[in-house]
Amino acid sequence: MSTPTPPSPSPFQAPPVVIAHDLTKTYDTGADQVHALAGVNVEFHRGAFTAIMGPSGSGKSTLMHCLAGLDTPTSGTVHLGRTQITGMRDKELTLLRRDRIGFIFQSFNLLPMLTAEQNILLPSQIAKRDIDQARFDHIVDVVGLRDRLTHLPAKLSGGQQQRVAVARALLNAPEVVYADEPTGNLDSRSGAEVLAFLRDSAQELNQTIVMVTHDPVAAAYADRVVFLRDGRLVDEVTSPTAELVSERLLKLEA
C-alpha cells in the first residue's frame, strides 16, 4: 500500500459530486409515449457508494446513462461537479467521459484483443494521459491481478475480467464511477469479491461510485440505496442490509 489511506469522511457531509435535477426521459413509440424518467431529483456525494435499485423497467439504467452522459434526457439537468453536462455536445461529452468518469459494465467489459494490462491502461491511452505508476501498482495489487496482466480476456475467469474492469475504472481516479450490474454475470463468490473492492475503494480512495443493480445482496455493499419505480425516485435507505433492501423492493413491486 504505497498511498496513505485518507480518513474516511462521512459521505453525507461531503459536497455532492453528481446532481440530477428534475430529470425526465420520454420515448416515442409511435402512438403513445413512454416515460422512462418522470422527474428525478438525486445527488451523489464524494466518496459515497450508492446503489440504484428498482424493478425491471423502472428506469434505473436510463437514469445511469443520463447521469453518465451516455444518453441525453428529455428535460432536466445533470451536473458533474460544477459542470452542467446536459446540453453538451457529443464531443464535449466524450471528453468528459474520458477524463472524469469511470465505467464498469455487466459483461463484455473488455476489448478481446487487448491484454488485461492494455485494457486497464486503455482510457489513459485514449486521453494520452501519463500513467501514475504508483497508483497503477497499488490498484493492480488491490484487485489481485499482478500475475494476470499479460493475459487476454479470453484466458481470464469472469470474476477476473470484472476485476480488470474495476481496475480500469479506478485508475484515473475519476470524479465518479458508474457500474451497471457489475456482478450480474458472476457467481456469488466472485461477485462478493468485486463488490468488496468497490466498497473498499469508495472508503479508502474516497471514490464516488454509483451502481445499478437488482440484487439486494449487491446493494447491501453500498452506503445508500435509492429506489426507482416508473421513472420516479420513491424511496431511499442508508446503511442498508440485504434483508432491508429486499423488503423495500418487494413492497415496491407489490
Binding site: L70, L111, P112, P123, I126, D180
Partner: protein, 865 residues
C-alpha cells in the same frame, strides 16, 4: 424453411448491398462486353456484306505455287479475259479493278506510309462505294481511303500530289472518300481510287486484280459464278457475292472476336474477384449467425435444410444482382458502342444488339459464381451444433486463431515450387513459351499467397504495427483489430492482390520494355535520325520486268538511300557524324549457313567501326579480329561452326574466316563483312540501306531537323525517322496500352475494395458492443472512424503490397523469359501511385462502416446482447 430464409434476407438487406454490387459489376462487365462485341460484329458484317452482296460473282487471281514451294504473286486478269466474261450469256455486266502501288505525298511533301499505298481504278460494277463526295471522273480527280485521309489530314476538296513511275509530280483534287473496311492489304497500306486514264498514266499498270460480275435477270449467283470460273480456269478464284461477303464477314467477326476475347478476359478476372468477395461475405455471415442457425437446428431443422437455406440465400442474392448486372451491362454496351464503336469502325451504324446469349451468359455466370462461392460457408453452417444457441457469446469470439503449421509448410512449399517453375522458364532461350511457364509459376505463387494469407497478414501487421501503435490509440486498436480474424482479413486482401499483381506485372513489363528501348537508342553512339528507303517498291518501276536487284525507276534506284545523301549530310556542319548500313541477300553454296533457298543476308557498315558506332552483343570471339577477309556471324547460323572456321561466299567464291559470333540483335543479321569485301560480294548496289545521322551538340533540334529534311527534299520516297519521335511514339503506345489495361483491371480493383468495405462493415456489426464500450470510455467519434480507417488502409496496403511484390517479381521473370537482352525497369512512380491508391481505397472502404459505427447509439449498443 423457405419463408425463414426469405424473411432473413429481407431483415438483413443491408448486409448484402456490397455483395450485390460486387456481383452486379462483374455481370455488368460480361454483358457489356457481349453487347459491345455483338453490336460491333453486326455492324462490321453489315458493312462488308452490304457491299459484297450487291455483286453476284467475284473473281480474284489465284496465287500460284512455284516449283520450289514459294508463292508467286498472282498473274492479274487480262482485258481479253474480261471481254470473254462480258460475252457470257449469264453475265449482265462485268468490270475489273486495276490495282498498283503508287506514291502519294503527304502535306510535307514526303511519301506516305512505310509501304507505297495502292492506286486503284474501278468500273461501274464494283464493291467499293464512295462514302463521302463523288467518285473520280476527270484525269485529276482522286478518292482517298478514309485511313489516308485521317493520317494526312487531306479532305474532300484538297489538292494532293502523286508521283508517277517517272517520279514526276502530278496534282489531283480529292473528290471523295471511301472505306476499305477490313481488307487487309488495302487498309494496311492505304488506297486511293483514280479514274481509269489517270490510273494508267500514273502507274502504267494493266490487268485486273479483281473482276466483279452482275448476273442477268433470272440467273442465280451460283450459276454465274460457275460460268465465270469455267472461262477463267485454274488461275482464278471465283466466289458468289454472298460467299465473298460471308468470308469477309467472318474475318470481320474474327476481329470483333479478338476484342470480345480480350475484354472477356478482364471481365472474368472481375468475376473471379467478385467470387472471392462473395465467399468472404457468406463466410462471415455464417459465422455471425451461428446462433441463428443453431436455433434453427434446436427447433428441428436438419443439416441439409440449413445448408439449403444458406444456398437459397445466395441464389436469391445472385439472381437479383445478376439481373441488375444484365441491365447495367446492356447500358454499358450501349454507351461503349455509342462512343467506342466509331473509333473501331468509322462506318459504324449504331444499333445495339442484345442477344439472348449475352443475357443468359450474364445470368448464369452471376448466379453460378454466387452459389458456388457460398458453397463452403454453407457447408460450414451445417456443422453448427444446436447447443451453440445456448452459448452466451453471441459471436464466434476468438474464431480461427490457429493458422497452423500445415498452412505454413504448404505455403512455403508452393513458393518453392513456383520458384522452380520460374527458374525453368528462365533457363531456356527466351521465347513465348517462357512467358507461359512464368505465368504458370505466378499462378502457383498466388495459390501460395492464398494459403499463407492469414500468416502473411499477421506477419506484416506485426512488422508495420510497431511504429503504427506509437501513433496513437486509434492506430493501436486498428493494428490489433486487423489480426483478429486473419483468415477473413486475408481473403479480403487477396481480392485486391489479384488486381494489384496484374497491374503491377504489366507496368513492370512496360517499364522494362521502355528501359530496354531507351538503352538501345541511347547506346554507345546515340543516333538522332535514321533515313531508309520505303519498303516494297516493286511494281513502281512502270510496266515490264521485275528488275533482278534494286528497283530502277526513271533511272533512280528507289530501294536504297543514294550515296549523295550521306555525303551531303556529312558535309553539313550541323551534323556531327553520318554512317550507313548496307544490307542485302546473296547466294552462297555454303549450306551450313544459308537459308533453305540458298541465300544469306550480308551486312556492312560504312563510315562506322564495328564496336564503336555500331555495337554488337558478342557471344564468342573478339571484335578486334574482325577486318577484311573475316566476318561476324550471328549465333543461330554458327551452330556447327567455331571461331576460326572459314565459310565461302560470293561469285566467284571467296573464303572468309569467322572472327566472332554475335547476337542477332540491332543491326546485325547473317554475316557482317568489311566494306571492301561487301562491295565484292554485292557489286551491283551502290546505295545505302539505312543512313544514321547524329547531330552536333551545338545544333538545335530544329536546325538538325532542317538539315536532314532539306537534304532528302529531292528524295520524297525516303523515310526519315526521328529517334526522339520514335521513342516518344513508343512510350505513348506503351502508355496507352497501360491505361487501357489499368482501366480494364480497375473494375476488379473496385470490386475488391467493395469486398474490403463489406468485411469492415460486417466486422463493425460484430463489434458493436466493443465500439460502444470504447465510446463510453471516451473514444471520440473521429477516433473511432480513424481506427476503422487505419484498419482498412492496413488491409488494402497489405493486399496491394503483396500484389506489387508478386507483380514485380513475375513481371520481371516473364519479360526475361520472353525476350532477350532486356533491361529490367522498375516503374517507381507507378508503384508509388498504386500504394497511394491503396491508401485512398482503404479510406474509401472504411467510410460507410465507420460512419455506421460512429453513429450507433452507445446506450442502444450496450443494452443489446
Amino acid at each position: 424453411m423457405l419463408r425463414t430464409t426469405l424473411a432473413g434476407l429481407r431483415l438483413h438487406k443491408a448486409r448484402y448491398v456490397t455483395t450485390t454490387l460486387a456481383i452486379l459489376l462483374g455481370v455488368m462487365f460480361i454483358v457489356g462486353t457481349m453487347v459491345f462485341a455483338d453490336s460491333l460484329q453486326d455492324s462490321y458484317e453489315e458493312s462488308v456484306m452490304g457491299s459484297a452482296t450487291k455483286i453476284d460473282a467475284i473473281a480474284t487471281p489465284r496465287p500460284l505455287e512455284d516449283q520450289d514451294g514459294t508463292w508467286q504473286d498472282p498473274e492479274p486478269f487480262t482485258d481479253e479475259q474480261l471481254e470473254r466474261l462480258r460475252d457470257l450469256p449469264e453475265v449482265a455486266e462485268a468490270d475489273g479493278v486495276r490495282q498498283a502501288p503508287a506514291l502519294l505525298l503527304d502535306a510535307e511533301g514526303r511519301a506516305y506510309g512505310m509501304f507505297p499505298p495502292l492506286a486503284m481504278t474501278v468500273g461501274e460494277v464494283t464493291r467499293h462505294h464512295v462514302l463521302e463526295g463523288e467518285p473520280p471522273e476527270g484525269p485529276d480527280e482522286i478518292v482517298l481511303a478514309t485511313g489516308i485521309s485521317e493520317q494526312t489530314g487531306f479532305e474532300v476538296g484538297d489538292s494532293v500530289t502523286l508521283l508517277d513511275t517517272e517520279q514526276r509530280e502530278r496534282e489531283f483534287t480529292v473528290t471523295g472518300l471511301f472505306d476499305v473496311g477490313l481488307e487487309s492489304g488495302l487498309s494496311y497500306r492505304g488506297a486511293f481510287i483514280l479514274a481509269p486514264e489517270a490510273f494508267a498514266s500514273v502507274t502504267g499498270a494493266e490487268g485486273f486484280h479483281e473482276i466483279d460480275v452482275l448476273a442477268t435477270e433470272g440467273t442465280s449467283q451460283d450459276d454465274v459464278a460457275a460460268a465465270v470460273a469455267r472461262v477463267l480456269g485454274q488461275g482464278a478464284e471465283v466466289s458468289t457475292g454472298t460467299e465473298f461477303g460471308e468470308r469477309m464477314a467472318s474475318r470481320a467477326g474474327a476481329d470483333a472476336d479478338i476484342i470480345r476475347t480480350g475484354l472477356m478476359l478482364f471481365a472474368f478476372i472481375a468475376v473471379f474477384v467478385a467470387g472471392i468477395v462473395i465467399y468472404n461475405t457468406f463466410a462471415i455471415l455464417v459465422a455471425q449467425r451461428q446462433r441463428e442457425m443453431a436455433l434453427l437446428r434446436c427447433v428441428g431443422a436438419q443439416r441439409g435444410q440449413v445448408f439449403r437455406s444458406v444456398l437459397l440465400e445466395s441464389l436469391v442474392v445472385g439472381l437479383v444482382a445478376s439481373l441488375l448486372g444484365v441491365l447495367a451491362g446492356t447500358g454499358l454496351g450501349l454507351v461503349g458502342i455509342e462512343y467506342g464503336g466509331p473509333l473501331l469502325d468509322p462506318d459504324m451504324n449504331v444499333t445495339t444488339v442484345v442477344t439472348p446469349t449475352a443475357v443468359i451468359l450474364g445470368l448464369i455466370v452471376g448466379v453460378a459464381i454466387t452459389v458456388f462461392s457460398a458453397m463452403i460457408p454453407a457447408m460450414r453452417a451445417t456443422r453448427v451444433s444446436p447447443l451453440a444457441a445456448l452459448r452466451t457469446s453471441a459471436t464466434a469470439t476468438g474464431m480461427e486463431k490457429g493458422t497452423g503449421r500445415t498452412r505454413a509448410v504448404v505455403g512455403v512449399g508452393l513458393f518453392l515450387l513456383s520458384g522452380g517453375i520460374v527458374a525453368l522458364g528462365l533457363s531456356g532461350d527466351p521465347d513465348t513459351n517462357g512467358m507461359w511457364i512464368v505465368a504458370a509459376g505466378a499462378m502457383v505463387a498466388f495459390v501460395g499467397v492464398v494459403v499463407l494469407g492469414p500468416l502473411l497478414v499477421r506477419g506484416v501487421v506485426h512488422l508495420v504495427g510497431a511504429p503504427l501503435r506509437r501513433m496513437g490509440v486509434s492506430s493501436m486498436l486498428a493494428v490489433d483489430n486487423s489480426t483478429r480474424s486473419p483468415r477473413r482479413a486475408a481473403t479480403a486482401m487477396i481480392a485486391l492482390t489479384v488486381g494489384a499483381t496484374l497491374i503491377t506485372g504489366y507496368s513492370v513489363i512496360s517499364a522494362s520494355m521502355q528501359a530496354t528501348v531507351g538503352q538501345q537508342l541511347d547506346g554507345k553512339f546515340p543516333v538522332d535520325y535514321q533515313i531508309s528507303p520505303m519498303m516494297n517498291l516493286e511494281g513502281l518501276e512502270g510496266e515490264g520486268e521485275d528488275g533482278e536487284e534494286g528497283t530502277e525507276a526513271g533511272g533512280t534506284d528507289l530501294s536504297t538511300v543514294p550515296e549523295s545523301v550521306r555525303s551531303e549530310l556529312a558535309a553539313n556542319p550541323k551534323i556531327e557524324h553520318v554512317f550507313a548500313q548496307r544490307l542485302d541477300s546473296v547466294d552462297s553454296g555454303d549450306d551450313r549457313i544459308t537459308n533453305e533457298d540458298g541465300t544469306i543476308p550480308v551486312v556492312t557498315f560504312l563510315d562506322a567501326t564495328v564496336g564503336e558506332e555500331v555495337q554488337p552483343d558478342v557471344v564468342e570471339g573478339d571484335l578486334a579480329d574482325f577486318g577484311p577477309g573475316s566476318v561476324l556471324i550471328t549465333e543461330e547460323r554458327a551452330e556447327n561452326l567455331v571461331i576460326g572456321d572459314t565459310i565461302t561466299l560470293g561469285d566467284p567464291e571467296r573464303e572468309f574466316e569467322i572472327a566472332a559470333v554475335v547476337a542477332n540483335t540491332g543491326m546485325f543479321y547473317g554475316l557482317t563483312l568489311a566494306p571492301r569485301d561487301y562491295e565484292q560480294v554485292v557489286p551491283e548496289i551502290t546505295g545505302d540501306s539505312t543512313v544514321m545521322v547524329r547531330g552536333s551538340d551545338s545544333a538545335s533540334s530544329a536546325e538538325l531537323r532542317e538539315a536532314v529534311y532539306s537534304t532528302v527534299d529531292e528524295h520524297p520516297t525516303l523515310n526519315v525517322t526521328s529517334m526522339g519521335d520514335m521513342r516518344q511514339e513508343f512510350e505513348q503506345m506503351l502508355a496507352i496500352a497501360f491505361y487501357a489495361i489499368a482501366a480494364m483491371l480497375g473494375l476488379a480493383i473496385i470490386i475488391a475494395v467493395f469486398g474490403i468495405s463489406n468485411t469492415m462493415a460486417l466486422s463493425v456489426l460484430e463489434r458493436t458492443r466493443e465500439s460502444a464500450i470504447l465510446r463510453a470510455l471516451g473514444l471520440s467519434r473521429s477516433q473511432l472512424r480513424r481506427m476503422l480507417g487505419v484498419e482498412a488502409v492496413l488491409l488494402c496496403l497489405i493486399g496491394a503490397g503483396v500484389g506489387v511484390v508478386l507483380g514485380v517479381v513475375f513481371g520481371w521473370a516473364a519479360i526475361s523469359a520472353t525476350l532477350s537482352n532486356i533491361v529490367l525497369g522498375f516503374p517507381l512512380g507507378q508503384v508509388v501511385a498504386f500504394l497511394v491508391i491503396a491508401i485512398v481505397a482503404g479510406l474509401v472502404a472504411s467510410l460507410l462502416p465507420a460512419r455506421r459505427a460512429a453513429r450507433t447509439s452507445i446506450t442502444g449498443a450496450l443494452a443489446s446482447q
